[in-house]
Symmetry: C2
Subunit: 129 residues, 2 copies
Amino acid sequence: MDSIQVGDFKFRLDLSKPLYEQVLQHIRQAIARGDVQLGTKLPSVRDLAQQLKLNPNTVMRAYQELDRDHLTETRRGQGTFITSNSETVEQVKKALAREAVIAFVSSMKNLGIDRSTTESFLKEVTWHE
Amino acid sequence: MDSIQVGDFKFRLDLSKPLYEQVLQHIRQAIARGDVQLGTKLPSVRDLAQQLKLNPNTVMRAYQELDRDHLTETRRGQGTFITSNSETVEQVKKALAREAVIAFVSSMKNLGIDRSTTESFLKEVTWHE
DNA sequence: TTAAGTGTCATATTTGATATAATACACTTA
DNA sequence: TAAGTGTATTATATCAAATATGACACTTAA
């Protein structure tokens, strides 16, 4: 259990990818899953940085990308808040799902694996929700 | 069409990932797909490097990883040859497919998307072989 | 008004993986 | 022997990521 709980969010960081990207993904997924209430405030840049032992700039980069996707809104002097627009969340969620599907299908096709075989592979996976 | 044909292999390199990794993937996928005959010789390290305008060390790194997976065998002074063991190829192919499936399922679960919804997404994809 | 907490910006520096450059060595084959 | 193989070594260059540090503008509550 090398994951860190900060507010409503759980983070598990490693060296496989850029840290700012991992922070971004964790928060984005929490929002997409509905693990956090819409409209609530994210931890402050400095807070999160301190708790994750990261540089504030690294956290800020993640927050700015969330803003770009309109998953968050930043109010100067107040903080960064999760959007209250559930439709935006739904759109982003679908977009991310689509990306994942495209990447997956591409991988399988690159291996020369056809549709039905891919579906078979998928059926073999035990799916703990 | 910014892809380069070298022997039986087609390469399309970009800046999204390490070059040695892309070279590795292209060759690995060609073998897995059965696009190249088992037992045949890969382009020499120097040849491939020259044609792809890469450093020989970069190509060598890709070749060494292929060797590690036993997809190729290197004979000193002769070159690097694709394995003749079709079972090995089949194993690697399955392993790569499994990896892709695992990663995909993980992504979908991280988004809070269940199995049946995932299957629906998959059905929406047009699958040109 | 003030102080603390917010996001933001700018600049410089460090770090680590990637890639290149240039040689050299050992082996095989024609 | 010469040309073609893979391999190893050392040095250097490059670039994105991450850090360090300090400053600024705004909001809120004391």
